[in-house]
């Protein structure tokens, strides 16, 4: 009964249709970027940028207290700007601590958390903090859907034009230079793309769940992927599945949508890991029988 009304509402209620379209786009976008983040062994980076993006949102809300309504209505713009600044800061610190990439992220995430707490407090909007920490795909607006659509188009075009260079630099930064690739430029391009995706994910899944949207479907797909392409396709399938199931769970049991989506993601990872173990075990016993 709940399932039937879910599907009816999915196409009859505007907010559900928006959530579905947003989910479909994010379901492809997050693992596309997430796969590169995993290759670069920087799984923590989306969290870091999310926290720094939060500084932009809190600053925007603070500015709005001086009577400028634009900053209250559209805090995501400053969120995006600060996400990019966070990305550049990570690159800057990463060069100072070449062999300790995670140090740069700890510095930026700490700074981001501290600054956002200060500005949320100054803006007297600590109540809206929950919304940005956990997000809600069910409350996205038409304007936000359009923003995600534009971001997806930009990311796709950049990947079509420079996908090879971005992948080459991600897999092996040292030797990419000898292939004629401007390593610094493509690191910068990727950081901008990542910052954009993190900013648009902020409203629908929230700061605390951004990383899981990007990384967990890729981690699940790595169990069965035999090539980069196959791993990416499997991760997008898992991601879309988790969004649809998550939406259904959120609608049916009235729970936060971002948390429901991420929980399904983790469940898929667990199931896939168990299946993989069973497959490996069966193959080993088959080999033993042949011997």
């Amino acid at each position: 009964m709940i399932t039937l009304s879910f599907f009816q509402d999915l196409f009859q209620q505007d907010f559900m249709l928006r959530a579905l379209l947003t989910g479909i786009i994010l379901g492809a976008l997050a693992p596309l970027i997430g796969s590169i983040v995993v290759v670069r062994r920087l799984s923590f980076i989306a969290d870091t940028l999310g926290h720094f993006s939060l500084v932009g949102i809190s600053v925007s809300l603070y500015i709005s207290t001086f009577g400028i309504s634009f900053f209250l209505e559209k805090p995501l713009y400053l969120g995006l700007l600060f996400s990019v600044i966070g990305g550049l800061l990570i690159e800057l610190f990463r060069r100072s601590y070449k062999n300790y990439k995670e140090i740069s992220m700890v510095i930026v995430i700490s700074l981001g958390s501290a600054m956002s707490a200060i500005f949320f407090s100054l803006a007297k909007k600590t109540g809206s903090l929950y919304q940005y920490l956990f997000g809600s795909i069910l409350t996205v607006t038409n304007y936000y859907l359009m923003l995600i659509f534009i971001t997806a188009i930009i990311v796709l075009v950049l990947f079509m034009l420079f996908g090879k260079q971005i992948l080459s630099v991600s897999f092996d930064e040292t030797t990419a230079r000898f292939l004629g690739i401007n390593v610094n430029l493509f690191q910068f391009v990727f950081m901008i793309v990542l910052s954009m995706v993190v900013s648009v994910l902020l409203e629908s899944v929230g700061v605390l769940l951004i990383s899981s949207m990007m990384i967990i479907p890729v981690a699940s797909a790595m169990r069965f992927g035999w090539s980069y392409r196959s791993t990416l396709i499997i991760s997008i399938v898992f991601s879309e599945l988790s969004i649809l199931l998550g939406l259904w769970l959120a609608y049916s049991f009235i729970i936060p949508s971002g948390a429901a989506i991420v929980s399904v993601n983790v469940l898929i990872l667990l199931i896939v890991s168990v299946i993989k173990k069973l497959v490996v075990k069966r193959n080993i016993s088959k080999l033993d029988q042949l011997k």
């Binding site: 290759v39 092996d172 930064e173 030797t175 000898f178 292939l179 004629g180 790595m222 090539s227 980069y228």
Partner: protein, 222 residues
């Protein structure tokens, strides 16, 4: 490409690893840099490739100072233990070489080089299923995509068994015969498989020793 190293010194903090090294590598040379672990072999290569910035001493490529040199695509480099490469993520040999092929020349090159290296049959295999020897050859193919003038191999046989080591050195020798300058780093003392033209031995006490083999053509003229 003529490579001139002049009075090069390099230190990590207070620990000097290269002290006043001077050496010339001519076009088409096969240089073996030999020495125990910690004698500065990889540091020297990183200086040559601009990965370590040179503050004491000078390096020239065809007379051009390394600090203004921009022709890095003339180099092919296979790093030690491939430690900078993430080869745990699922990736086929073909995918690796395809996204490493930025120019049209590179795209047309990789199948030819795979064939030359005797590993055309593994083109669809996942790189984390390859043996150490196969992986090294794949990375040499990647380094060869630009048709480099200088190929630098840092401890290339570290993860290859003895049988494949001989075959590997033969392949490198053939590349050298095509006119490519080879710079090969090794910490092993047995060099019987390697037909090098000169050898630079680096020691822990920061001294260096150079041995130059007389080319056969020169011997015949004597």
């Amino acid at each position: 490409m003529l490579i001139e190293i002049k009075n090069l010194s390099f230190a990590y903090g207070h620990r000097t690893v290269i002290n006043g090294l001077s050496h010339t590598i001519n076009s088409g040379d096969y240089l073996v840099i030999q020495g125990k672990n910690g004698t500065g072999k990889t540091t020297l290569i990183k200086c040559l490739l601009g990965i370590n910035s040179v503050k004491n001493g000078m390096i020239f490529f065809d007379g051009q100072d390394i600090n203004v040199f921009g022709g890095w695509t003339r180099f092919g480099y296979v790093s030690q233990n491939l430690d900078d490469f993430n080869y745990e993520f699922p990736l086929t040999v073909e995918e690796l070489l395809k996204f490493s092929s930025i120019t049209k020349m590179q795209q047309s090159n990789y199948l030819k080089h795979l064939d030359q290296m005797g590993i055309l049959d593994i083109v669809n295999q996942n790189i984390n299923s390859l043996s150490g020897g196969q992986l090294q050859r794949v990375f040499i193919v990647r380094a060869m995509l630009n048709n480099p003038q200088v190929l630098i191999l840092d401890e290339p046989t570290a993860s290859i068994d003895k049988q494949n080591t001989a075959f590997f050195y033969k392949t490198v020798e053939e590349l050298n015969k095509l006119g490519i300058t080879i710079i090969l780093i090794t910490h092993t003392e047995s060099l019987e498989h390697i037909n090098y033209s000169h050898r630079l031995t680096m020691s822990l006490d920061l001294t260096t020793e150079v041995e130059r083999k007389i080319p056969i053509e020169v011997v015949n003229k004597l």
